[in-house]
Structure formats: C-alpha cells, structure tokens
C-alpha cells in the first residue's frame, strides 16, 4: 500500500507489521465506516447463512427440538438412502451442463455477431435478445403455446402439418419435458452475462485489429481468437460466472412450467429437493446438507471454468 510515496516507507521501517497495519487502520477509519453498512448486512445475509448451513448439515435441526449432532448421517442418507435426491443431482447436472455452456456460447456468438452491426441496429437487436430475460414471468406464455389441447399453438400447427395426429401433452410427458424446459431456459438465459459480453466487444481497441492485420491475421475467426477474446478476457470470466450460477438456478422456471413435483420427478432438481425438505417438511438439518452440496457444486464449477478461461489466448 505504501509503494508510491517515499516518506511513508521511511516511517514504516523499524515497525512491526501489526503495528503498521494498526496505524493504517486508524488513518483510514472513515473507510471502515463507509464499508460497514454493506458488509454488516453481507455477513448477516450471506456469510453467516453459508457457514450456518454447513454447521446445521451435521445436525438433526427441525426448528422445534434442540438439534442433535449426527456428523455425516445426513450426507450418508442423501447418497445411499434417498433415490429422489440422486434423480435431483442427475437433473441438476444435466441442466447445468447443457444450459450453462450452451447459454454462454450463444451469448458469446450473438454478442459477437451483434457487434458487427451499425450502432442503431445493434441497440435494437440487443433488446430483442435480452428482452425475454427481463420480462418477469413472460415465459409462462410457453405453457399456453404448448398447451395440451388442440388450441395450443404447437399442437394445432403440428396437427395441421400432419406431424402429429392428436394433441400432445407437452408439459406432462416425460419425453418432452426436459428438452422443452431446456429450450425455455435458454430462451430466458441471455441476461446480464450477455450484456457483459456485448459491452466487452465494444471496449476492444480498434487499433489492435489494424496491428493484427499487419501481423498476418486473415479473417474474422482469427481476429476473434487471437485479438478479441484475449483482450476481453475479464468480461469472458465474469460472464461465465454469471452464466454458470444462473444455470444452477432454473428451479423456479421449472416449477412454473411443469408443477411441483414434476411428473415422475423427471425435472426434479436439487433446488426442488431443498424446497421440499426445508420449506415443507422443515427437516432443516437434512435440507442444509442439500444446500451445502449445491454450494460446493456451484463454487467448484465456477472455479474450474474461470481457471480454464485464464488460458484463453495464452
């Protein structure tokens, strides 16, 4: 912190690190007052819940009785005794693995394409792609479009074109639920991470392209890979984190589209399992174990992907 001015370096010599820190803390007292309101709430509503959830996951807490410490029992029960949880883990991973990378790549390519447009048209096309993710519960229109009678948009047109001959129960049939939900999830997934990429493309210095052309870059693909992506790596990383975190959180949309629980648990995710045990059965210890596993999954996915992205263009 003191590298910029010579006199502070002199003062610092002959002082222990702790003492130095204390002096600095006193000097910047006002800074602590400025961060205090936010970080008190942050600890209260983010840090403590995460830690508490980890601790509770080793107990039998149920809001009524004093919790017993059961060590790994909740986790053992989850993996060995709870078939629905295994379905939930499988579905969560399928969603995350499909929608996460897919929405990220879609965002990236559309942001790239949109960047080639003239500014006015660019603003309009950005809105077209971004609108589904900000329009509240507009995704419910999919239940109308894919409703089970012959007046549903999909059924009617597929019947008229002779692809099917009687109405299909789209949101009740296990065969269609998963792909349909993935389509709806992707449709709503061009959100903040997409905007981050749109902005990222715009800050790339244009002179870099000219320099690249001199150095033998021949087409737009090479330009993207060798110049654009390495330059906007910070945006790539943030966008990936937002996309991954979102891909674990489509539970709300699933409940709205196919109900709770979904037919034969075919779209049952860890979020639903969590809601079931925490919000309805009040087995808080067990639910905390689910939350802890979900937490570890999200964090490790994000760390893995950001680690990979650091290698882009190097």
């Amino acid at each position: 912190m003191s590298k910029n001015s010579a006199d502070t370096v002199i003062v610092r010599s002959g002082m222990t690190k702790i003492r130095w820190t204390l002096i600095q803390m006193k000097k910047y007292k006002v800074a602590y007052m400025m961060v205090a309101p936010f970080f008190i709430l942050f600890f209260l509503f983010t840090v403590i819940p995460v830690v508490l959830s980890l601790l509770l996951s080793f107990t039998t807490f149920n809001l009524l009785e004093w919790p017993d410490f059961v060590f790994m029992d909740n986790y053992i029960r989850l993996f060995l005794d709870d078939e629905i949880f295994l379905i939930a883990i499988k579905n969560t991973l399928v969603f995350a693995v499909v929608t996460g990378p897919a929405s990220y790549l879609i965002s990236l390519f559309f942001a790239w394409f949109i960047n080639e447009l003239r500014p006015k048209i660019r603003a309009f096309v950005t809105l077209l792609f971004y609108a589904p993710s900000i329009s509240g519960s507009v995704y419910l229109i999919w239940t109308v479009a894919f409703s089970s009678d012959q007046y549903g948009f999909a059924n009617a047109w597929f019947m008229k074109l002779g692809i099917i001959n009687k109405p299909v129960l789209w949101f009740q049939n296990e065969k269609y639920i998963l792909p349909l939900i993935i389509v709806v999830a992707l449709w709503t997934s061009l959100g903040t991470s997409f905007l981050t990429l749109i902005a990222g493309f715009q800050v790339v210095d244009r002179t870099l392209y000219e320099a690249g052309a001199v150095d033998g870059i021949k087409n737009r693909w090479q330009e993207l890979w060798f110049i654009t992506l390495p330059t906007m790596r910070p945006q790539l990383m943030l966008s990936a984190i937002l996309a991954i975190t979102a891909s674990f959180g489509f539970g709300g949309i699933i409940t709205a589209l196919v109900g709770f629980p979904s037919p034969n648990y075919c779209a049952w995710t860890m979020m639903h399992h969590l809601e079931d045990y925490g919000g309805m059965r009040f087995e808080m210890g067990y639910a905390s174990a689910i939350a802890t596993i979900l937490f570890l999954m999200m964090i490790s996915c994000n760390l893995l992907v950001t680690k990979m992205l650091r290698k882009v263009g190097t």
Binding site: V50, I141, R220
Partner: protein, 299 residues
C-alpha cells in the same frame, strides 16, 4: 492475470464511428445477418405471441389453427384485467403499493450502501480491502438458493417473518451491485482528482458525493435498473404469508395460472408486467452497456 494488460480500460474510448473493418467479407456479413435475423425472430416470437394473445377477442381464441397475431385486435382483455383487479379481495392498489415500496426502498438502500462500500474499496487503501473484495467475487459464484434455509432461520430469530423488512433489507446488499460499482469507480474516477480534493481538506464523505458519484453516473443508473428489475419481478416470497403484503407480480401470476377461461386476461397481465422493465431498459441501454464494459473480472 496482469494488471498491465488492462490499461486499455483506462483509456477514454473515442466516440465510436462505424466503418467497414478489415478482415471482413461480404459473404460473411450476409451470413451473420441471416443468422441474426433467424434467431432474432425465434427469440421474439413468444413475446409477439404473448402480446397477440393479450389483444385477441374471445372468439379468436378458438380459431383452428391459432393465429399469432389477432385479426381484430381489442383492448377488452386489458379492461377485463383492470376490472378484475378492482374486484379482488385485497385491492390491487395494495399489491401495487407493496411492489413500489419494496422496489424503491430496496433500490435506494442498495445503491447507497453499495456505492459507499465500492468507493472505499476502490479508492481508499485501507488494510483488509483485498480480502473483502475477494469475498464479494466468491459470493458471485453461488446463488441465493443455497442460503434460503438458513436465511429463514435468521429472519425468524429477527422476528421479520411476514414483514416488509424480510424482503427489503437483504436487497440492500446485493453483491453484484457492489461489484459493478467498484469496477466502474476503479477505472472512471481518477486518483489525481481525489488527491487534490484531499489536499484541500475535503472529507471522504464530501469527495464521495461531490466528485466520485457524479463521475460514475452510468454505474449507479445501471445499478438502479438491475436492482429495480429484480425487486419489481419479486414474486411469491417464502418469508411473506399475509395476502396484504404480497407483491404485484405475485397477484398477477395468480391471474395467469387461474385457468384457460382467463387466457386473454392473463396474457394482458403478463404484458403489463413485461412492458415496464423493457421500456426502462430501452431508455437506459447506453448507460448499462458503458457500465458493463468495465465489469470484467481482472484478478
């Protein structure tokens, strides 16, 4: 990742002028236009369908095959929606009041708390700011679903269950808000200006209000939009039981799921809910893009 490679963000970008770039072929451009037109249409069809449904007169719902856009558009569904709102047990004005209250107070607190913290972290070299910011970055890596259970327990102990506080106060500390503000302040507020203000004896609080905040206007406009959008879209909340405290979005979604007889009315309700965030985004788009351009993760 080195800090040096990022000084590109520090340079003021010249007002962008569109010009035919190097390495572009006409064939490639046409390909891009076709792909964008195709997928743009696919993206927008459900939205058009929702608007179409909301304008359809009753008899057109039973036309086979169904139409995307009504032949005789009518505003009857919207009139029905507002009539139905007037008839509901809890008056709709109450739901609207709830949503407006939650959105404005929550957004105001969020912007204030985040900006203060972001200013201190990005512009005052106090010990501990590194670890604090690191925690924020990690907290972007998981969603609030994870903390739902324990939040409920905390809320219960505070006695906040079934009060506005349970919705509003947690909205004050969205980590993404702090993250955006901090990244933008770091690149847009120049240290030299702050230094000279400090030498003249201005307090940090004064510098924050008079110098830093005006310089980061796009950032707090963006934060207002994001925070407001999230709170506006607040639906059923697990901490709120009383009907009188529930949000407009919740009440609307009750109408949407009320069944096939309501298809027109529920589509009208959906359209009402989606118009507000879209209009707000259109007005503020350039601010948002400018803010997001500094939002990258540069660890």
């Amino acid at each position: 990742m080195s800090i040096k490679s990022l000084n590109i963000f520090k340079r003021k970008q010249p007002k962008e002028q569109f010009q035919r770039s190097i390495n572009r072929t006409v064939k490639g451009d046409i390909g891009i236009y076709i792909i964008l037109a195709l997928f743009g249409t696919l993206m927008v069809i459900p939205l058009v369908y929702a608007i179409g449904q909301s304008l359809k007169p009753l008899e057109e719902f039973w036309v086979f095959p169904p139409r995307l856009i009504p032949v005789n558009p009518t505003l009857k569904n919207f009139k029905d929606l507002f009539r139905r709102m007037g008839d509901s047990w809890v008056p709709f004005s109450r739901y609207i009041f709830n949503t407006v209250l939650i959105s404005t107070v929550g957004t105001a607190g969020n912007v204030l708390f985040s900006s203060y913290a972001a200013y201190a972290i990005s512009k005052i070299p106090f010990p501990g700011r590194g670890p604090l910011f690191k925690m924020i970055v990690y907290s972007l890596m998981f969603s609030s679903t994870v903390t739902g259970i324990t939040m409920f327990i905390i809320m219960k102990n505070f006695g906040w269950i079934d009060t506005y506080l349970a919705v509003i106060v947690p909205a004050f500390c969205t980590t993404f808000g702090l993250y955006l503000m901090k990244q933008f302040m770091e690149t847009s507020v120049t240290d030299a200006v702050l230094e000279s203000a400090r030498i003249e004896g201005a307090s940090e609080n004064k510098i924050f209000w008079k110098i830093a905040m005006p310089m980061v206007k796009p950032a707090w406009i963006t934060l207002i939009i994001f925070a407001f959008k999230d709170l506006w879209n607040t639906g059923a909340n697990m901490y709120i039981y009383s009907e009188q405290l529930k949000s407009f979005n919740y009440a609307i979604s009750q109408l949407v799921t009320a069944g096939i007889s309501l298809t027109g009315v529920s589509a009208a309700a959906t359209v009402v809910m989606m118009i507000v965030p879209i209009v707000v985004f259109v007005i503020t788009q350039s601010n948002i893009i400018q803010t997001m351009s500094t939002s990258g993760m540069k660890d």
